[in-house]
Amino acid sequence: MVGIISWGSYIPRYRIKVEEIAKAQGADAVVIKESLMISEKSFPDIDEDTATMAVEAGRITLSSSAISPEDISAIYIGSESHPYAVKPTGTIVAQALGMGNGYTCADLQFACKGGTAAIQVAYYMAKAGLNVVAGAADTAQSAPGDILEYTAAAGAAMFLVGKEKVCAEIKDTVSFSSDTPDFWRKPQKKYPSHAGSFTGEPSYFRHVMSAAKMLMKKNGTVPKDYDYAVFHQPNGKFPSRVAKKLGFTEKQISDGMLVTRIGNTYSAASLLGLCAVLDIAKPGQRILLTSYGSGAGSDSFDILITENIIAAQKSRKTTQSFIEDKVYGDYLKYLKRAVR
């Protein structure tokens, strides 16, 4: 059996409310909150980046597992805010996680789905008998004044994937990809650009729905076979609408829907949702996870919780505790700390 042995999340402590950003942008907060379905977002401190957040989440992941860090063969981190353009984030994180030197590593980038791509790589390597750390972290960037500023947030989700004491079996994974330029950032540019409403139907909805349908068709399942569904969540509206279109209920998506309280953590967004579900799921429950990365593609996973989850959930720092542990900052504090 191949799947998730352990998991860990990290969300920076700082939050900024939509009202604060709307004030700075001269916009109407009520309208923004209605259209994006988000109330506040997380933002990182000046000394936090993708590597530091991945380490925090990774330390929770490894300290809650019996597998020695030196017995891990690879690390893959997906992000669109790797601290270096050239030089891996993975080696920094592996060093801090005490993985020794006998591991392979490469950083992944596929907009907001680099993290699920990392899990897929880990899944196939685990089938070959290896233990792999995979996950995502992002300090999402948005140009001051851009609509993205209301949602672009920071967070990390890391997983240990292998064959021993699996808590959440990955039964299958499929992907749906195409060349769809809806959101991008060129080298040397600080902030991403996007194609406005083009990011909707031909991009997010087409890919998420196609991947999720492909997975269910392949495995002979229907929405009601799943206890939880987690979708990429760039705002509150998209995942709700895609769930409805696919035939999932609000109840199925509510536990993995974090965007309204922490914003869009980009590569980590759907994976943090998965962490929040793993924190509470019971043996025998089934999860459908579908990510979305601009440019574009979706990875969909069929996940089954095992008996091992009960022991694994004990004394683990939960995603919910990170969501609740917060300090509000005003726009100036946000600019000084998070905008880089």
């Binding site: 401190d45 590597a51 270096y84 801090a96 005490g98 000084k336």
Partner: protein, 132 residues
């Protein structure tokens, strides 16, 4: 700070790796070459990263620097932390309000950016602490 200097401290700064005297069992951080008991037979020891505040200050004026850019905003909290295993160290306490600060307060290690050598330079990562 030169690159090799940052590089050779990675174990110490990332994971609080110090030394343990095989003779008197005293633990040191940072790592030492010789123990206060006179013994040279020391082995690596990784501290757990939990401790308490011995004393602290809020720094409101810091050094200007045109070479290394530290990742911190004025004001920042600096403290001496006594690790549960014995030795003490000096570190920044991140993301705490001044009302949370107290001598004796429990703290735990976090992994943060320390400094970078200008916009083009490498980033040095290492330990800081937060209220536990």
């Amino acid at each position: 700070m030169a690159i090799p200097r940052i590089w050779r401290q990675i174990e110490e700064k990332y994971n609080l790796v110090g030394t343990l005297c095989k003779d008197c069992k005293k633990k040191h951080f940072p790592p030492r070459e010789v123990c206060s008991c006179g013994c040279y037979d020391l082995e690596k020891y990784r501290f757990l990263g939990k401790g308490e505040i011995v004393t602290y200050t809020v720094i409101r004026i810091s050094s200007e620097d045109n070479e290394d850019t530290p990742f911190r905003n004025i004001p920042y909290v600096l403290a001496i932390v006594r690790l549960d295993e014995g030795p003490s160290l000096t570190a920044q306490i991140v993301q705490c309000s001044e009302s949370e600060l107290m001598i004796g307060k429990k703290v735990e290690m976090v992994f943060r950016k320390l400094l970078e050598k200008g916009e083009k330079g490498v980033i040095q990562y290492g330990y800081k602490f937060r209220i536990a």
